[in-house]
Every structure is written in C-alpha cells, then in structure tokens.
C-alpha cells in the first residue's frame, strides 16, 4: 500500500476517510487500462481515442441531422450496431432479391407488416444497410411521432410521417423510402390471421410513386408473424390509453418483462421485381382506377411471395 493510501485510512475527517480516497490514482488508471483492453482489444488506445472523439462530438452537439431529423451517425454507429446481432444471430434473416433495389435514386419499398411491434421494419433497415449500403427511410403513422421517446428514436433513425408531402419530398430527393400500408391493422392482427395481408390503406403510396415516377419494390417478410404471437387483445383498455391495440401473447403479460423477448423464428425476406411507374404520366396519379390497380398488383405480388416463402421455410424456428 502506498503512502497516500495509508493517509486515506488514517484520515481524521469523514471526507478523508471516504473509501474511494484509499485507492490511489495509479490504481484507477491501471484498472481503466485493463477495462479498456477488455472492451476495445489490443489497439485500445487508438480505438478509445476514436470513441472519445465521437463522444465529444455528441456532447458538444457538433453532429448533423437532415431536415427530417435523421441522425446518420447515431443510426449507423449505435442503432444498427444493436440490431445487427438480433438480425444475424436471433432471427437469422435470409435476404433475397437485394438486386431488385436500385443502387441510387428514389425508390419505394412496400412491405407486409406483422409482429405486434414493427420489428420487421427494423430488420429491413439493417438488411438494406448491410447488403446495399443505402439508408431506408421508413414512413410511420402519426401515433409514432406523438409518443415520447419512440417518436424521437424514429426520427433519429430516419423515419418521417407517412403523408404524401414527406413521401414525395423524400422520393424526389432520391431517397429509398419504406412503407407498410397495412399499418396497425397489419402488426396488430391476431396470430390466427398470420400471413393474410390486410387492406392496403387507400393506395396513397402508389399515388406518391406515380407522381414522382419512382419504381415500387414489393417486399415480403416471413418470420415476423411468429415473434410475438398475438392471441388476445384488450380493445377497451387500448381505447382508454389511446393506442390501436393492447397485445396479449402467450408470454406477455404472463411472464412480465421476460415475455418481451421475441421468439427466435427464422426469417426470410425477399425483395420482388420492381414495378415501374415512370411510364405513367404524373397526372395519372389522380386516376383512382389506375391507383387501385397498381395497389392491387403490389398487394397480390407480396401475398403470392409470402405463400411461396412459407413453403420454402423448413419450419417456424428452422
């Protein structure tokens, strides 16, 4: 024990006898160094220095967000990093048809929606980022942006409100936009209706694609239906709280927080062949018959692909 430590123990005031004062600075430094080596590996000094630069930039506010509030740095370094192991190890997501997404320019990804919470959207974001290097810009319901924390994270991750103004603005700027037209009807449907597509809204997403002339890429996600099998709902209580549904799964709320762990189903996600819209005139976006037909075509493509993928999947947890 060093001299200073001895002094710490023999101090006369309560402040001097504080337990932390007995540990000399050198010991602190050594402990931190070992911890740093543990976390950052052999090149810890460089890694840690880089991490601190990142941290300082965050603390001083010297990072940038785009006009929708998208924080690319935070999304890539933090959110995607957290989701990646879930995608690879837990759900073992198999991605097909990534070549159907244009490598640049605007495009609209239209997907089925399931799983009680929008985990399918998150997994799609990670998959597109990792396989293609593009950021998916999800469109979310206004409830998402009304909720504290959730809405904040959604904007930081690149989402914006599902309205024609934002969708068209993003598509015109060449963003890759994701939309889940089933909305809450899709993620909040009972387990017995799994893989049955709900109504596709009013086809607003088709109008936006027609107006901006971007291709529509249908996306079929198999696996998300089984993560939280929704066996019950408390509509009366949901109405009081102001949410579209209150889920009851076999494990939630029975097991409490443990019930929040999603079941490790096997996921297959397939991007279908793009449906081109540039052949139509922008004015035709207001033709309800055309919008209806294209909506139906997208919906049918996704539904058929879902049935095929389900046949190809060995088992739910395969």
């Amino acid at each position: 024990m060093t001299e200073s430590a001895a002094q710490g123990l023999t101090g006369t005031t309560a402040r001097e006898r504080h337990p932390l004062r007995a540990i000399p600075a050198a010991d602190w430094a050594a402990a931190l160094e070992i911890a740093a080596k543990e976390v950052f590996g052999a090149e810890w000094e460089e890694q840690l220095a880089r991490f601190i630069v990142f941290l300082r930039r965050r603390i001083s506010g010297e990072y940038s967000v785009d006009e929708y509030g998208f924080d690319r740095e935070l999304t890539q370094r933090f959110m995607l990093a957290v989701l990646r192991p879930i995608k690879e190890k837990w759900f073992r997501v198999e991605v097909r048809g990534i070549e159907n997404i244009p490598t640049d320019g605007g495009a609209l990804i239209v997907s089925n929606h399931s799983g009680t919470i929008p985990m399918d959207g998150l997994m799609t974001m990670v998959s597109i980022h990792d396989e293609l290097g593009r950021d998916l810009r999800p469109l979310g319901a206004d409830l998402v942006f009304r909720m504290p924390i959730v809405g904040n994270i959604a904007r930081k991750a690149g989402a914006t409100l599902a309205c024609s103004e934002d969708a068209e603005r993003m598509l015109r700027n060449g963003e890759l936009v994701g939309v889940w037209p089933e909305g809450f009807k899709g993620i909040g449907k009972p387990y017995s209706e799994r893989y049955k597509l709900q109504r596709f809204g009013r086809g607003g997403f088709v109008s936006s694609a027609l107006r901006t002339g971007v291709p529509i890429v249908p996306l079929s996600v198999v696996g998300a239906e089984e993560i939280y099998p929704l066996v019950g709902n408390i509509p009366a209580l949901a109405k009081v709280i102001g949410v579209p549904y209150l889920p009851i799964t076999p494990f939630f709320p029975l097991l409490g927080p443990l019930g929040l762990i999603p079941l490790p189903s096997k996921w297959l996600i397939e991007f279908g062949e793009p449906i081109r819209t540039d052949a139509y005139d922008a004015a035709e976006a207001d033709d309800p018959m055309l919008v209806f037909n294209v909506t139906d075509q997208v919906r049918e493509t996704i539904q058929q692909t879902l049935y095929r993928l389900l046949g190809e999947r060995a088992s739910v947890f395969g």
């Binding site: 000094e45 840690l48 220095a49 601190i52 630069v53 941290l55 300082r56 965050r58 603390i59 001083s60 506010g61 010297e62 990072y63 940038s64 967000v65 785009d66 006009e67 929708y68 509030g69 206004d142 409830l143 942006f145 009304r146 909720m147 504290p148 924390i149 959730v150 809405g151 904040n152 904007r155 930081k156 914006t160 409100l161 309205c163 103004e165 934002d166 603005r169």
Partner: protein
Amino acid sequence: MAERSGPGRVLLVTGVSRDLGRRFARAAARHPNVERVIGVDVAPPRGDIGKVGFVRADIRNPVIAKVIAKEEVDTVVHLSVIATPGTTGGRSTMKELNVIGTMQLLAACQTAPSLRQVVVKSTTQVYGASSRDPAMFTESMEPRRTPSSGYARDVADIESYVRGFARRRPDIAVTVLRCANVLGPSVVSPIAAHFRRAVVPNVLGFDPRLQFLHEQDLYGVLEHAVRTGVPGTFNVAGDGVLTHAQVARRLQRVTVPIPEPLFGLARFGGGEYPAELKALLTYGRGVDTTRMRSLLGFEPRYTTEDTVVDFADSVMPSVNRADRALAALESRLTGAPGD
C-alpha cells in the same frame, strides 16, 4: 426583377418602439434611395432612431390613414405584430394591437393612392407544430390544426386580412415574410429567453427540429423585400435544422426533461411558455425555403447552425465539465494537446 429606385421612396414603419422596428427604420433611413422614413407606434422608441421621423399614433385608430396620405407614403412595412403581451398589458390588448391594428392599417392602406408596396413580417408559427405535420412546410401548405388562440391565431388572422387586401388592391405589391424563430445576441423573445436560462427545460422524450433566422438576416430580408418589391408569401429561415438537444449542447446548457403534460403548467422560475412555444418544443417544425431563393432572390448569410454559434457567444456557458474531462483524456491518449 427591376429594382425600385429613384428618390421619393417614403417608408412607413410600424412597431418602432421595439428593437426590430427601430433598427430597421434607422437603417432604412440611411439608404440613399429612401427620401424619408416615418416610424409609427403607440409608445416612443427606446433608443436612437437617427433620421427617422416618429409619429406617436395608434394604428388601431384612423389617424394612421391621415399620416399615410399627408406624407405620401409609398411603402408600408408592418412590423408591429407582437408575439408576447410584454409591457402592453394582457393577452386581450396584445390581440387587439395585432389583429385590429392590422385591420386598421390595411384599411388605411386601401384608400391611399400613393401606396405601391406593403411588406408584412409574419412568422412560420402560422404552420403550427404537431405530430401530424409534414417535415418541411412549403408556402402552399396549411397548418394541420387551425390554432384556436394565442399568437399563432393572431398571425393566421393577420395573414388572411393581408390576403384579402392583396386581392382588393392588385396594383400594390404585397410581400408576406414568414420568418423562422429569430435568434441573435440582442434578440429578446420567448425562445431566446428559453435558451439563455442556466438550466434549460426540455420536453421528456422529444427532441424537436428547430430552424432559426439570424437577426441580421431578418433585417437583410426586410431590406431586400422593400428594395425588390417581389410580391408573394415566402418562408424565410437559415439553412438546415438543429434539434433542441443540439442547440442546448452547442450553448453548453444543462437540460432538465419535463413530461409533456406538465410542461405548459410550470412557469419554471418566471420563464414564459406560451402554447405555441410548448408545441414547438415538443414537435418542432421545418419550413422549405426554395421559394425564398428562387422567387424572392434572398440568400441568408447565416445558416441555422451559424445562427446558434453566433448566439452562443452571447450566452454564458453553464456547463462543460464532461467535455473538459473527455478533452483531457483524449489529449493523454493521442499525445496531442487537447483544445
């Protein structure tokens, strides 16, 4: 766009008792193309007004029409719309000054044969702030919810009177400038006061997008609008957006999260949080400034970020211990002196 020039420009500026009106009027009076500037307000200006002729008049009564006619005013710059009651009294006085004042002023303008141009400073608060808002409002978009009270309602009413006036007098160039929140070292406003607090409250779980206009750019755009006479409604804001957290961190402010339902109730030691500021601090707002560039032809000198940086110089930092500690650690690791 042909510039309006030649001697004989006579400006009438309302709201010269406040800083914005006084400074703008004083600067305008120094311009070589301007023959004279008449400042109007109910209270005398609190500072130097240079060559500006001051007329103590209430724009709510018909005296203003006589002033416009007698002085042969050709341009009216309406800056007296106020965001907070301040020293004027209560909310009802504020509403009367804003709405009735504008009605009377426009009524006076309508019968003035000499008048060629009206410039009105409005605000992006006419778009409101809600969870159902598009990310970037263009001039053609309406607020999702029509404001039922407060400053936002006043501005919505004022704009509708101005539109009516523009229809009745198509020979007059009417320019409405919807300015983003103005920030700068000498700005006194609810949001400036909010960020000057030693401890800045924020709405728990929300990090709204904010846009600012530097006070210099506000004078710049008013001068530009008077000089060029481009009619129409324009969003005016610095480039880019910053979130509330970014602004607070740039200003080195400690933030305290307050749950949304409580945010409006608490006055937080004297701070004023009117409904529209609370909505802004919850949901944020962005406006598209394409028309400002392409049609109005105005380019702000400060981006939103520059504006905050400039504002930061006038604000005493309340905390930077975390950054100092990290800087020290970084310099030890890299062997380079930290800044």
